[in-house]
Structures are given as structure tokens and as C-alpha cells.
């Protein structure tokens, strides 16, 4: 059996080193072509007519003026008369014309009459007198069992008690079984009462769970602490907006350039709505200008782009979202707020958790974040109310649900530490025993972070009174899975020595291209630039979507297996020439040689010539139980510390320093791994201090769908950042684990805690704006 396992530290030539990103030269020179930059022959430009109302019915549509307009090539009704619209900015009509100004003129002539319906765009705390229960949604049940890990028996009881609000057809039930839902739950769904969701019912009890004996634990608690915490809806604000260019080379084949995190997964999602086989859909993307979780699907506008292209005789049509639409409809992170009560012993041991949380993910309502986060408090009672409203659909945003859970939990713990007059570092260390298997990692990471932050020197008890400019420090911790996704990789060695690698993957700016080349080059013993890597096309073997920090584990594993097999196949060809056994050969520095005998060698080129006339292609896969060991793993930990300065007269918060200590198993490229952490902290500072999707209750519109009042942190808002990656023994041998999500989880809690440490009072909600900080200070002064 070939040896697929990752090389030992002393054998690695590239893996784990600081390797410069391979596509940077193209990006810094403007040569990298994104979907938005792509111009196809005779390309038409599409524009959408969008709903101005957050909830309405389309009464009538008149497109006659647009259809007669010179230069207009197609007009397509997306949601016709009678359609109910659930958020402002939703697509009603599309037009395609010879240029963008003409398309804009045409869209403006379309007359749509709407009947306005009542809307809700708020995610304020739900009224206290909600009816108990209410029917369960399909996703709720899934979340309950898989995400919140509610025992099957309790899930069954909830289904029997509350009923369900969907029709459980057999296909759905089979699917549920396939993904591992226990038979008892599936049977309960099959036999459940079906209760249609109430007309205009905005609130849905998404979870209500009890573990242990919270009443007893609270009555016995020596100290209790209560608080309110939360994070609002924020947007993805990808700099390259969502969109695509669709064209029909012939009547049966579709060719799509699309800005996506999911190249291989797009055809399957377009096939059904377009009623064509997925195999007839080709998708291509060279570079993507940001996704952050919002670009997995073709979206309705992507389907519309294909449809209107067909109407226009198959000519390429480009529809990229405008910035305001991008912010209004193309991605939002669900909000989450919670009232938390904690119980503890005087020595700091946590004993009880109680939370009433709520939040919205738009029309779908959303589920409960994983509360309490990381700390498995022995006695718990928690309930979550999902608000179904009209702000537009939420999407996965880096580490879905974790930043929210982290703020609600870690800030509550920090307040408990303050109540106990404990340094939160001591308090968190004390309770690491209930964090599960990562406890020792967290302990080690907290130790390193504390040194890098000079925590002992900087931490002080919360001040009773403040004036002027004050400083504080705060900490947080987080976890994530990150097991590698399914990935196929074709590696071809040509007799002339050239090598190419093909995967239907994508590089979100995380360094995927670089990582694939590092693994292949390290394995084959040739330079990275000797390999021609092609990704971003459905012509290449399928590789998973880049979400949930699954890419690095997937592509590194499939590439490693392909490269090991290819190398060994080459060894088999050249062994007789070198008068050795294949197992005695090694490949390094562009040379194949007998181990320990540099004299008996062939150059890479000479060796490849022995392949004969035909190139050698090997497919590597992940997962592949036939080719052990498992090269990827799941479960990482990380801790972060923030130091802030708060002007108590203006409430303005500036982050002065942040430290991230992170583990992620075996690191492929240390440089791009560190960049993921730097970027995550910067994004974290941005959402902690500035970001919020602001909705107008009266008109139902997003008020700050632009880049001046939807504030993103700028270059000058970023302080000294320190990253320490855990590597070496205890980490490397775990295998490769993803890193995109974890470091973006902690900043909110760490910064909020630092502000509380500085000003002596909790600012309940992010972002920590001057208004909120001053308000908290005023309440503290009045208390």
C-alpha cells in the first residue's frame, strides 16, 4: 500500500512553510479576471425591476414599452401577477439589452402595480405572551437533532406535542434517514399532526430544551449573574457582487460564468429550474471577489440570467447585482439576542445556564445558535424564538451561528467573572474542563495569548467610575469542525516532464491554489511553478463547495493521494533503469534517486520520459477509505484577546491590539493561514464596531444599502495584530483541518469584553457604536 500519510516535519520541503500566494501577481496587476470582468462576444446587459415593498402582491405588469424599445433583446417576467413578494428588492422583471444604459432605460419603463401587504422588518424582542409551542418546521427538527444534539426521544416528544408545519413526503423522509435521522424521529414526523403556519405569524418557538436540573442548580448556586447580549443582522458585502453571465452555445447547452463558492455544485442546482440535464451545463470561474458564505447557489437571478439569455437567442447576458441590491438581498447574517442567567459556585465553577434567545434569518426565521457556546454547562434551560420577517433571506456567513453564540455565551461568562471578582482568564481556565476534548488545547492557547497580549499587566478589575480615555482587555474562545469536503483531483504527468492538476474547486482568496500546489510539489519533489494547476471549471473533476472551512482538508487530501500515486507509478517505471526497487526511490529537488545514493538518479524530465508515449493520469479522492490514512480531521480551537481604548465622553471605541492563537491541525501554507487569521480579526473588528443592516420599519427598506453608512473598517481602524498558529507535535499529526471560519468567531466577544473591562459596564449589543456605549455609561451612572 502506498504511503499517503503526510510527511514528517523533517521530510517536508514546502508543506507548513511560509509560501507566497501564487495568484497574487495576477491580482496586484489587474490581470486576474473575475466574473464581473468577463466580456463575452456580443454580450448583452441585464437589469432587474425589483420590488420596492417588503411585502406585497404583484397586481399587474406592463412590459410593452420595454419590449418595443430599440436595443432591447429580451424581457422576462420573473414573478408575475399574483405573486406574493416577501422582501424589498426581490426580482419582478428582467430585461436584456445591447448595453447597460439601454437596459436601465428599458427597466425604468416597466410598469408594475403592487398591492402592499403588512410587513415586519424588526428583530426586536418578541412579545412575552407567545402561545406555547407552535408547529415545528422541517429545518427546526433537523437543527434540533443535528446541531443542538437534542436526544432523539425528546425530538419525538416535541414533534408529537407541537405538530409540524410541512407535508412530510416519502422523498423527504428517505433523505432524512440517509443523513442519519433516527427511525423514531422519522416515524414521528410521518405521523405528526400537520398544522399550517398561522397567517401573519412572525414568531416561531424554534427550540425549547432542558438538560440536567436547572431549577435545582440555580437554587443551589452561590452566585448568579444575568445579562442581555446580542448581535444584529449584518451583510456579507462581497466586493464583487453576486451575478453571472449565461449563454447558450446551442439550444441544449448552457455555459455560465458565475461568481461562486461552489463551481462543481452549480449545474445540479440549475438543472431542475431550467428543466435540463446538469451534464449540459458548464460553469466557469477564474477568480471570485469574496463570498463569505453567500455564494453557494445560482440564486434566482442566476436562473433568470440563463432564461433571459435563451429568450435573447442564446446570446451571453450579464447580470451582476448593483451594490444596493447586493446589500439588500444577497446575503445577511442572522441576528441573535439573548437574556442569559448563569449560576456558579464562589470558586468560579459554572453550574447552571438559562437563556431566552431570539433572532431572525429573514423569511425563514432561523434556528437557535449553539448555546451555551463551547462550555457544556451541566444544567441548562434554553429556548429560542425565531422571527420570520421581511428583511430578505439570510445566508451562511463565515462560521454560521457561531459568532452569535460566542457573543451571547462568552460575554455572559465574562460578566459572571466580573461578578465573582475574578480575572476572566482565571475563570475561563477554571471551567475548561466542561469544554470537552479541546480543553487542554485551549489552556495552552490561552497561555500563549496571555503572554502575547501581556494580559497580566493589562487586565484590571472593572472600574466603578470612569472618565476620559480608558483602556481594557477582553478574551474569547471558539471552535469549529472543518473536516475536508469531497474532492476529486486529476493529476497528469506528461512524458516531457510537464505536470498538470485539475480540480473543479475554487480559490476564494483563501489560498486554495497555493495550497494545492504546495501539496503536489512537496509530494512530487518538483517546484510549484513546474505544475500547471487548473481549477474553477465543471470540465474538471468535481470538488466540494468552499464553505464551512472544508476546502483545505478536501483539496489537500485528494491532491496528496493523486500525487503519491502518480509519483509511485513513476517510481515503478524508472526503478529498473536505476536498478532499484520502487520502494527505494525518492523524489526531491527535481530529481528521482535511490534513497541515500545521490549518484543513482535521473532528472525529473529524464524520469518522465520513461513513461513512454502516453501521459499518466491519476485521480485522487477525498474521502477515500481504500487509501488510508484519513488525511483530514475535524475540530479546532482558538482563543483571542483584544485591547481597546474607549473615549468615555464620545463613546468611541478603538481597538489597540488583538492577539489570535489558533490550531487547525497540519498547516499546508503558514503564510496564507496567518492571513486567514489577520483577515478574520479585521472582519471581526469591523462587525464589532461598525456593521449593522439598518431597516426602516415604515417603508420596509434597508436604509444603509451603500458603503458609507454600511460601514466597513478601513486601513486606519486596524491596530497591531498578532497571530500565533499552533503547530508541531500534538497538532500536525491530526491531519489537515480548515481555518476559514474559526478565527472570525471570537472578535465580537473579545472586543465587547474588552470594552466592558474598560468602562466597567456591559454594552449589550454589537456594534459598539458611540450611541450604545454612551447609553451603557449613562445607565451605569444612573444605577
Amino acid at each position: 500500500m502506498p504511503d499517503y500519510k503526510w510527511p514528517e516535519a523533517d521530510q517536508r520541503t514546502l508543506i507548513g512553510k511560509r509560501i507566497t500566494r501564487v495568484d497574487s501577481p495576477f491580482k496586484v496587476s489587474g490581470r486576474a479576471k473575475y466574473t464581473y470582468d468577463t466580456k463575452r462576444p456580443d454580450m448583452l446587459f441585464g437589469k432587474m425591476v425589483r420590488s420596492p415593498y417588503a411585502h406585497c402582491k404583484v397586481v399587474s405588469i406592463d412590459t410593452s414599452a420595454a419590449e418595443k424599445m430599440p436595443g432591447v433583446k429580451a424581457v422576462h417576467i420573473v414573478q408575475g401577477a399574483g405573486s406574493e413578494i416577501f422582501w424589498a428588492g426581490d426580482e419582478i422583471v428582467a430585461v436584456a439589452a445591447v448595453d447597460e444604459p439601454t437596459a436601465e432605460n428599458a427597466a425604468r419603463t416597466v410598469q408594475v402595480r403592487y398591492e402592499k401587504l403588512p410587513h415586519l422588518v424588526s428583530d426586536a424582542e418578541p412579545p412575552g405572551n407567545l402561545p406555547e409551542g407552535g408547529p415545528l418546521g422541517e429545518r427546526e427538527i433537523r437543527d434540533m437533532y443535528f446541531t443542538q444534539q437534542v436526544p432523539a426521544a425528546e425530538v419525538v416528544a416535541q414533534i408529537q406535542k407541537n405538530g409540524i408545519d410541512f407535508k412530510p413526503n416519502e422523498e423527504l423522509l428517505t433523505q432524512a434517514k440517509q443523513v442519519g435521522m433516527p427511525d423514531a424521529v422519522v416515524d414521528a414526523i410521518r405521523n405528526a399532526k400537520i398544522i399550517p403556519p398561522g397567517e401573519g405569524s412572525y414568531y416561531e418557538r424554534a427550540a425549547a430544551q432542558t438538560q440536567g436540573d436547572p431549577d435545582k442548580a440555580f437554587s443551589e448556586a452561590e452566585v448568579t449573574s444575568e445579562g442581555l447580549y446580542g448581535v444584529p443582522v449584518i451583510t456579507h458585502c462581497c466586493l464583487e457582487s453576486h451575478g453571472s453571465i449565461a449563454e447558450w452555445p446551442d439550444n441544449d447547452h448552457l455555459f455560465v460564468h458565475i461568481s461562486t463558492q461552489n463551481v462543481s455544485g452549480i449545474p445540479g442546482q440549475m438543472a431542475e429550474p431550467l428543466k435540463m440535464p446538469a451534464t449540459n451545463i458548464r460553469v466557469h470561474q477564474d477568480h471570485i471577489g469574496g463570498g463569505f458564505g453567500s455564494k453557494f447557489s445560482p440564486d434566482r437571478w442566476g436562473i433568470v440570467t440563463a432564461e433571459i439569455s435563451k429568450k435573447a437567442g442564446g446570446k451571453p447576458v450579464r447580470i451582476m447585482l448593483e451594490r444596493d441590491t447586493e446589500l439588500e438581498v444577497a446575503g445577511a447574517r442572522p441576528s441573535a439576542y439573548g437574556r442569559v442567567k448563569l449560576g456558579a459556585k464562589k470558586d468560579g465553577t459554572l453550574t447552571a445556564w438559562q437563556s431566552q434567545s431570539w433572532g431572525t434569518a429573514g423569511p425563514g426565521g432561523g434556528g437557535m445558535p449553539p448555546l451555551p457556546y463551547v462550555f457544556k454547562v451541566p444544567n441548562q434551560r434554553k429556548e429560542h424564538i425565531a422571527i420570520r420577517n421581511n428583511i430578505g433571506p439570510a445566508r451562511a456567513w463565515r462560521a454560521p451561528n457561531h459568532p452569535q453564540a460566542c457573543v451571547i455565551t462568552v460575554c455572559a461568562l465574562d460578566d459572571m467573572a466580573a461578578k465573582l471578582n475574578l480575572d476572566p482568564l482565571e475563570f475561563f481556565l477554571k471551567n475548561l474542563a466542561i469544554t470537552g476534548p479541546r480543553g487542554d488545547n485551549y489552556r495552552e492557547e490561552f497561555g500563549i495569548a496571555a503572554d502575547l497580549m501581556a494580559w497580566k499587566q493589562k487586565w484590571h478589575p472593572r472600574p466603578a467610575k470612569v472618565s476620559g480615555v480608558v483602556q481594557g482587555v477582553g478574551l474569547s474562545l471558539h471552535t469549529w469542525g472543518g473536516r475536508g469536503h469531497k474532492s476529486d483531483c486529476d493529476l497528469t504527468i506528461y512524458p516531457d516532464g510537464s505536470v498538470d492538476i485539475k480540480l473543479g474547486s475554487q480559490d476564494l482568496g483563501t489560498g486554495t491554489r497555493t495550497a494545492i500546489l504546495v501539496v503536489a510539489a512537496d509530494t512530487l519533489g518538483i517546484p510549484m511553478d513546474a505544475i500547471n494547476l487548473q481549477i474553477g471549471d465543471t470540465l474538471y473533476p468535481p470538488s466540494g463547495g468552499s464553505g464551512g472551512s472544508t476546502t483545505i482538508g478536501g483539496v489537500s487530501s485528494s491532491t496528496r493521494r493523486a500525487a503519491v500515486d502518480a509519483r509511485d507509478a513513476l517510481f515503478a517505471k524508472v526503478a529498473p533503469v536505476l536498478d532499484a526497487q520502487p520502494a527505494d526511490l525518492e523524489s526531491a529537488n527535481g530529481t528521482l534517486r535511490v534513497k541515500g545514493n545521490a549518484g543513482r538518479s535521473l532528472s525529473w524530465k529524464e524520469a518522465c520520459a520513461k513513461l513512454g508515449a502516453m501521459p499518466l493520469t491519476i485521480r485522487g479522492k477525498n474521502p477515500d477509505p481504500t487509501k488510508p490514512p484519513d488525511l483530514t480531521n475535524s475540530g479546532v480551537g482558538g482563543v483571542q484577546m483584544a485591547e481597546v481604548e474607549v473615549d468615555t465622553e464620545t463613546g468611541i471605541v478603538r481597538v489597540k491590539k488583538m492577539v489570535a492563537v489558533q490550531d487547525c491541525g497540519l498547516i499546508i501554507d503558514l503564510k496564507t493561514a496567518e492571513s486567514q487569521c489577520y483577515g478574520a480579526m479585521i472582519m471581526g473588528i469591523s462587525y464589532s464596531l461598525y456593521e449593522e443592516k439598518i431597516m426602516d420599519q415604515t417603508t420596509g427598506r434597508m436604509l444603509n444599502a451603500d458603503m458609507q453608512f454600511y460601514r466597513l473598517a478601513g486601513l486606519n481602524d486596524i491596530p497591531e495584530l498578532v497571530v500565533h498558529m499552533m503547530t508541531g507535535k500534538g497538532y500536525d499529526e491530526r491531519g489537515v483541518i480548515g481555518l476559514g471560519e474559526p478565527p472570525v468567531i471570537s472578535p465580537g466577544a473579545a472586543i465587547s469584553n474588552a470594552v466592558a473591562n474598560a468602562i466597567g459596564v456591559r454594552v449589550p449589543f454589537l456594534p459598539l457604536t458611540p450611541g450604545r456605549v454612551l447609553n451603557a455609561l449613562e445607565q451605569k451612572a444612573g444605577a
Binding site: 495568484d23 491580482k27 496586484v28 430599440p70 482568496g509 451603500d706
Partner: protein, 205 residues
């Protein structure tokens, strides 16, 4: 559906005749060639648009002739008409800096300038910074410091940094605060960009 832009204009309800009726200013004098003119303060002033008009742009030292409506921005003309796509369209409202180009060697937002106004002024885009196949030292520094992730803000940032460092070879933090505030990044590459500036400051660019 015909392709005649003249008809388009008539049907869109913005014909010149109608416009002049509303505004009550000047009389159109049809010329044999070239644009129509209005009389203003006793002199003829040419009127361009609202249909496509011929313009000339000088981009990266090259002359381009193109036909655009007056409402087309320099950014859209570069990208859609000339296929020079280094400058990106992100906010399209002079807020994010992804469209930064140089005009008369000064950084501007190409999204906030009409193409018709850019005539006669040298425009420099990120594409021109490479010389003979080699990256400009600032571009090289961006590569070494890993100052790009998704890369969509990067061309604008590179152009803004180049203009800034030309002006401030040894920038102070205060210079940086005021002089490099006009570009935003979403992935969080600011740490790398700060290293680029620090590196340049040391070398004196």
C-alpha cells in the same frame, strides 16, 4: 425591437425638442456635421447627447476612440468599452476605492467621473504599472506581504498606494490616516497593506 438609438431617445420621452420646450432656453441650430448647438449668451455652445457621442480617451499612454452616452462613467467606459478591467465596480458611488485610477497622476474614483469629462487627460490604470513583464516594486511588495486575498479591492489599493508613496516616500502614521483612507477591503488585507507601506517607507519607495 430596432437598434436605432435615435428612436430610443424619442420613445424614452427625453427628445431634445421636448427638453428645450421645458427649459425654455436657446434654440437648436442644426449643423451639417457634429453635435447640435444651443445659443447661450449669444454664442453657440455644442450640446452632446443624450445619445452616444464620439469621445477620445488616453489610457495608459494609448489613444482610444469610442462612442458613449454622456451618462457613461469613466469606469464603465474603461471596463465595458475598452475591456480594461483592473479598476473594479464595487460601490459605484465614490465610497470604496476599488475603481481608483490616476488622472493627471492623481488618484481619483473612476466611478465618479463621466467618461466624456476625462477627455484630454492622461488616465493611468493598474494595468500600466508592470514594466517589461516585471511587477512594480509596490506590486511586488503586495505579493510578498500577502496583501491580497480575494483580490477585488487590490488593484484600486495598489494604485492608491503607488500615488500615495510617490507623494510620501517616508509616510508618517498621520500621513497614512489622511492619505490612504479612500479604499476599503472586505477580506481584511489591511495588515499586509500596512507592511507594504512600512517596507516602502524603509526603502524610501
Amino acid at each position: 425591437m430596432s437598434d436605432d438609438p435615435k428612436q430610443a431617445e424619442e420613445r424614452a420621452g427625453v427628445s431634445r425638442r421636448e427638453f428645450l420646450k421645458i427649459s425654455g432656453i436657446g434654440v437648436t441650430v442644426p449643423l451639417v456635421v457634429g453635435p447640435e448647438v444651443v445659443l447661450a449668451a449669444g454664442e453657440e455652445v455644442p450640446v452632446y447627447g443624450p445619445g452616444k457621442v464620439p469621445i477620445e480617451l488616453t489610457v495608459n499612454g494609448k489613444q482610444y476612440k469610442l462612442q458613449v452616452e454622456p451618462r457613461v462613467t469613466l469606469l464603465d467606459a474603461l471596463r465595458d468599452d475598452l475591456d480594461i478591467t483592473g479598476a473594479k465596480r464595487v460601490c459605484d458611488r465614490a465610497e470604496c476605492g476599488a475603481c481608483t485610477v490616476l488622472m493627471d497622476d492623481k488618484p481619483i474614483y473612476a466611478c465618479a467621473l463621466l467618461a466624456i469629462e476625462a477627455q484630454g487627460k492622461p488616465i493611468t490604470t493598474v494595468e500600466s504599472l508592470m514594466q517589461g513583464g516585471n511587477l512594480h516594486p509596490i506590486q511586488q511588495a503586495f505579493v510578498e506581504q500577502d496583501a491580497s486575498q480575494c483580490g477585488f479591492c487590490t488593484p484600486g489599493f495598489v494604485v492608491a498606494c503607488k500615488a500615495f508613496l510617490d507623494q510620501h516616500p517616508h509616510p508618517s502614521p498621520e500621513d497614512i490616516r489622511r492619505g490612504l483612507s479612500g479604499n476599503l477591503c472586505r477580506c481584511g488585507t489591511y495588515k499586509g497593506i500596512r507592511e507594504v507601506l512600512a517596507q516602502a517607507a524603509q526603502k524610501g519607495a
